[in-house]
């Protein structure tokens, strides 16, 4: 599946629910499916510190694709990072850099993206793109 096909799937999945509670229940379930980070990477170097919850994100680059694993101490945040990983993990650095993450807006998570929310979503997106850029630079 392409990145945008996955984004569209997520949008469709969330569109079944009108109620916010149901959307959050879905996020909680997604959090449970998150490819969990190896405990040895749950260290400061891989910590994306938001004001409210901690997120650890680890990139593994095999020369072609970047695979992300992650964890958070808050379950909703774990759901949000799981969505990002669904969309952006196992992609090439170029794909990751070029991706427009329109699904965030479409499923109503945009409020979580504002810099003042400081739950780390914005920092997570930034960090994923930074890793992609760094691996890209290493290639050239």
């Amino acid at each position: 599946m392409t990145i945008n096909e996955i984004q569209n799937n997520i949008i469709e999945e969330f569109s079944f629910f009108d109620d916010w509670m149901d959307k959050y229940n879905l996020l909680i379930d997604l959090g449970k499916e998150l490819p969990v980070i190896d405990p040895k990477f749950k260290v400061k170097d891989f910590l994306i510190e938001g004001c409210q919850s901690k997120v650890w994100l680890h990139p593994e680059y095999d020369g072609k694709l970047i695979t992300f694993t992650a964890d958070s101490d808050a379950i909703i945040t774990r759901g949000i990072v799981a969505l990002l990983i669904k969309v952006l993990s196992d992609r090439t650095p170029d794909e990751i850099i070029a991706t427009d993450l329109y699904f965030i807006d479409k499923i109503g998570l945009r409020q979580n993206l504002s810099p003042t929310r400081s739950n780390g979503l914005l920092s997570m997106v930034r960090q994923i793109k930074l890793y992609a850029m760094a691996f890209n630079a290493r290639n050239k």
């Binding site: 916010w20 959050y24 909680i28 004001c51 409210q52 101490d73 909703i76 945040t77």
Partner: protein
């Protein structure tokens, strides 16, 4: 006293809904909502008589100046001091404390001098003193707290020394709700001739504050936490201190005579009010104080006490919920944590039920460190809240538990 329906009708925002649910506003410790009369008062300034204060010879400037000085008079009466010179308008509690920390540091502090704070302080009553201490080579001393979240007075008495230059403590803890024993703190400091600053950000709105009876040397509070507009605060200082202290900001209106060689300063209180003050907010604040007096501060205290004990009862009945801050003397603030559920998760779900709470460290990281926790959920109630709302919160917490556990 007005009944609760009448009171709630005074606050337009309380009738709105969020995510299709009626708003339950339990974040009053962060900021309070405004009654219609405050909104009208601010509106009226801009509509009818806006003119910069203390400057113009024209009608509007005169009218604004008069309303601004009347606001000062209202504040003076509200906190009960005899001198209007002792009431300085600032941008808020943070502005007031920063100002005093700067001026006091410049005037009195030498290397090795000590400032005493408590472990309960909001960052606004820590960082300004830290900055000053760094500048002056002074040292911060911290009064420890016990497990109930109360300061340990015996430890405080031990901290007072010949190097202590000032004690600065909160009237009540924003993170835990503990009311501090100000009488004991102030009298012990005064018997050693040490002045005391009270951070009243979480005190002014919950009962009667009488600075003369309290005998504090400085008292700081914010307008927006007592149903007034944002961007206005008050610094009360005893005249003898304000007279001696240098201004913390330079600019227009605070001066007597300016030449490029030397400037002499205006009289109190204007010496500390540089630049164009937020006079519309000051006028709105005066109106908020009138509103609070109209409800009656004794009534507010009683009603909030009732809400606090009901909320404490309801929440402590929830399995796995722990309340942080269990002093006998508290403002209507309850900080709690649910076993194995991150406070951010709790807050996000409560939000979707229309319940506004604060989550995190509440700008009081040392308090969280003391308990070895990353943060709490805080419900800060005030007199316009109801027991029914507390019931919704308790049910909401049960729902949160069912979603996460």
């Amino acid at each position: 006293m007005k009944d609760i329906a009448e009171i709630r009708a005074d606050f337009p925002i309380l009738s709105r809904s969020v995510y299709g649910k009626p708003l339950i506003y339990f974040d009053n410790g962060a900021t309070t909502q405004k009654p219609q009369c405050v909104l009208d008062a601010v509106d009226e300034v801009y509509k009818s008589y806006n003119g910069n204060i203390h400057r113009g010879v024209h009608f509007l400037s005169d009218m604004s100046s008069e309303a601004y000085e009347n606001a000062r008079e209202k504040v003076r009466l509200f906190i009960n001091t005899s001198k209007r010179e002792e009431i300085i308008f600032t941008s808020g509690t943070t502005g007031s404390i920063n100002g005093i920390a700067f001026s006091f540091g410049e005037r009195y502090i030498k290397p090795g001098d000590e400032i005493i704070l408590s472990h309960l302080e909001h960052h606004a009553n820590i960082v300004p003193w830290q900055m000053m201490c760094e500048r002056k080579g002074a040292v911060l001393k911290v009064i420890p707290i016990n497990d109930r979240g109360e300061i340990i007075l015996e430890e405080y008495y031990k901290l007072l020394s010949s190097r202590t230059r000032l004690v600065s403590v909160a009237q009540a803890s924003n993170a835990l709700g503990t009311v501090l024993p100000l009488k004991e703190i102030i009298s012990a400091a005064h018997s050693a001739n040490i002045p005391v600053l009270i951070d009243g950000a979480q005190g002014i709105q919950h009962g009667i504050v009488d600075v003369e009876a309290m005998d504090c040397d400085f008292y700081a509070f914010s307008g927006h936490k007592i149903y007034g507009p944002n961007g206005i605060g008050v610094l009360y200082g005893k005249e003898k201190w304000l007279y001696e202290l240098p201004p913390f900001q330079g600019g227009g209106d605070m001066v007597d005579k300016v030449t490029f060689e030397k400037t002499t300063y205006n009289d109190l209180p204007f010496k500390f009010e540089a630049g164009t003050m937020n006079y519309p907010a000051a006028i709105g604040l005066a109106c908020a104080l009138d509103y609070v007096s109209g409800i009656g501060r004794e009534n507010i205290e009683l009603r909030e006490k009732e809400l606090l004990s009901y909320a404490t009862l309801r929440l402590s009945g929830i399995n796995g919920l722990k309340i942080y801050g269990t002093s006998e003397r508290k403002i209507s603030t309850i900080s709690f944590h649910i076993d194995n559920i991150h406070q951010y998760d709790t807050g996000m779900i409560l939000d979707k039920m229309g319940i506004a709470v604060r989550t995190g460290t509440h700008c009081a990281q040392p308090v969280m460190d003391r308990y070895g926790i990353e943060g709490t959920v805080r419900a800060s109630l005030c007199f316009y809240n109801t027991k029914e709302e507390i019931d919704v919160l308790a049910d909401g917490i049960e729902k949160v538990k069912s979603m996460f556990v």
